[in-house]
């Protein structure tokens, strides 16, 4: 039955493989990265409770420490291109093709799963726009798209992130407010997209066959979604509301570094925090 038909398009010939790679790429590497990314970013809040840097903005210090670690990774650009940008482009591009093959009938069939079906596609569309803005402004340095034409700087990671969301050091500019809201909506939709995607992937691959299993896995995915949502909101709110000067102070103390400087800076920060920590105990 499997006759080769030259009238078939590339998408048709590799239909199943592409569908499954689309599903897989959403979990590894994109979903996995999202979890790591939100954990790192939310350090702007959980860093405050960490107590590792008691005499400064612990969030900004912890976040700077994390950013320094990421920037010390070898072949970072290759990791970004092959681990993130290409998989995201693949997932988003195919996703749009697949989404356009469907239709929307939630007005007639108002079932919860049908709403999620529609929202999964909507969150994909808006999510990819958000991601493009996010990467273009913060990673590729398209400052003309930034509120107040500021620039994100990995050596002053938290304070320049605050500027990217606010447009100024204190309070919000109008554009800044719009960007901050876009971030809240964007990350919320993407977290939903991931949690719901993990739920449907289990059906797609045949992991959860029975309704009971699908329901159980649904609770797991809802829990995952709630946790990631908390991290996402903590990140955006944390950066949007931080004290610019205090963050700056913490960043200068930690010291953003390049290459060999990193290790030194890290060791130093550990030594400092160790000393400060023991002082605090005393």
């Amino acid at each position: 039955m499997n006759t080769v038909n030259e009238n078939e398009s590339f998408l048709e010939r590799h239909h199943y493989l592409l569908r499954r790679l689309h599903s897989l790429s959403g979990i590894v590497p994109i979903g996995t990265f999202l979890m790591i990314h939100l954990t790192t970013n939310s350090s702007i809040v959980w860093g405050l409770m960490d107590g590792k840097y008691p005499n400064m903005h612990g969030g900004a210090a912890t976040y700077q420490h994390e950013v320094n670690f990421i920037h010390s990774l070898p072949l970072l650009l290759l990791i970004e291109i092959f681990g993130l940008w290409l998989p995201i482009a693949f997932h988003a591009g195919l996703g749009v093709v697949y989404a356009l093959s469907g239709s929307n009938n939630v007005r007639r069939y108002k079932y919860q799963a049908n709403w999620r079906y529609a929202l999964q596609r909507l969150s994909g569309y808006i999510g990819v726009l958000f991601l493009f803005y996010h990467v273009a402004t913060l990673r590729w340095g398209w400052t003309f798209l930034m509120p107040g034409n500021t620039k994100w700087d990995s050596e002053f990671a938290a304070s320049t992130m605050a500027l990217a969301l606010r447009g100024e050091t204190d309070g919000f500019t109008a554009v800044g407010m719009a960007v901050a809201l876009f971030y809240m909506v964007g990350v919320s939709l993407l977290v939903f997209h991931m949690a719901n995607g993990v739920w449907t992937a289990a059906i797609t691959w045949g992991l959860t066959v029975t309704e009971t299993a699908q329901k159980r896995w649904g609770y797991v995915c809802a829990g995952l979604g709630a946790g990631l949502m908390a991290a996402a909101w903590a990140s955006v709110i944390g950066f949007a509301t931080l004290d610019y000067d205090k963050a700056r102070e913490a960043e200068e103390y930690i010291g953003g570094g390049h290459g060999s400087q990193i290790l030194e800076a890290e060791n130093e920060s550990v030594r400092h925090s160790g000393a400060a920590g023991s002082e605090a105990v005393r």
């Binding site: 469907g102 239709s103 045949g206 029975t210």
Partner: protein, 274 residues
């Protein structure tokens, strides 16, 4: 049924039908409104259903404006919700017209019921659609048990009570098309392409025959189709199918089960090269 002793007094009420009509494929649609008298309040008055009302409209083809029109065309068969022929969209949702009781849908004088043809199949006329694609897709997945041979094949393998339990439910599918009408991934094909999404009913039938002892000899062929264009991977997990199914067949379980089968099938194929 009329009351046996004839003492019960039945009054009538008027039920208004808004019907989307069409003269044929590609000829556009128009709305027509009919008032239908329905027995009310007497013993046995609850027997009026959408089909009996359509029969009345076909016999009295006059709209509420008093304009004479053509008799309404619709499809029906068993009148007990087992053949699926009278499937249509009633008040915006797909279901069988014969089991749609007027007392449930329009209990009061002047209540309205809206009828539309299924949107996912080509319209033949009015409420009558052509579901050939569904039949063709069942042929595509070889939805049968191969028992023909040049000699007596003997008795087939025994079925365990467990698989029987699962398969009995799947066997209740009447190919009515409710799951396809409600599915956001299933779209109308005016010209059959043979590549369109087969939909929940057909996926469930592939599972039904794959899990049959003798039917499973065609399992590989079915999974080839199921893992191809229009197969199970075109499902978007909106899960409307299981909600729309009048027989409450666990269609989403069938989709996941076939998803699992195709996963193993394709991995095996990848490594065996067959």
């Amino acid at each position: 049924m009329a009351s046996s002793n004839g003492t019960v007094q039945a009054t009538t009420r008027t039920v208004r039908f808004r019907i989307e009509r069409s003269d044929g494929p590609g000829r556009g649609t128009r709305w027509e409104i009919f008032d239908v008298p329905v027995a009310s309040g007497g013993e046995g008055s609850g027997s009026a259903n959408v089909i009996s009302c359509l029969q009345w409209i076909a016999a009295h083809p006059v709209t509420v404006e008093g304009r004479e029109t053509t008799p309404i065309t619709f499809d029906c068969g068993c009148l007990e919700e087992v053949c699926g022929a009278c499937t249509m969209v009633i008040n915006g949702k797909v279901r069988q017209a014969c089991s749609c009781l007027i007392d449930d849908y329009a209990p009061n004088e002047g209540d309205e019921i809206t009828l539309e043809a299924m949107s996912k199949f080509p319209t033949v006329k009015d409420l009558f659609v052509d579901r050939t694609r569904l039949f063709n897709d069942l042929k595509r997945i070889k939805g049968w048990v191969p028992i023909d041979g040049s000699y007596n094949l003997g008795a087939g393998p025994r079925e365990t009570p467990d698989t029987q339990q699962v398969r009995y439910k799947l066997s209740e599918c009447m190919s009515c098309g409710c799951c396809l009408e409600a599915c956001p991934q299933y779209t109308l094909e005016v010209e059959p392409s043979g590549k369109g999404f087969v939909g929940a009913a057909v996926i469930s039938q592939a599972r039904y025959f794959n899990e049959h002892g003798t039917g499973s000899t065609l399992k590989k062929d079915r999974l080839d189709v199921m893992s191809g264009v229009g197969g199970v991977s075109d499902c978007g997990n909106a899960q409307n199918c299981a909600k729309a199914c009048p027989k409450e067949i666990p269609l989403t379980e069938s989709i996941a089960a076939i998803g699992r089968s195709t996963t193993f099938h394709r991995i095996k194929q990848f490594f065996s090269g067959k």
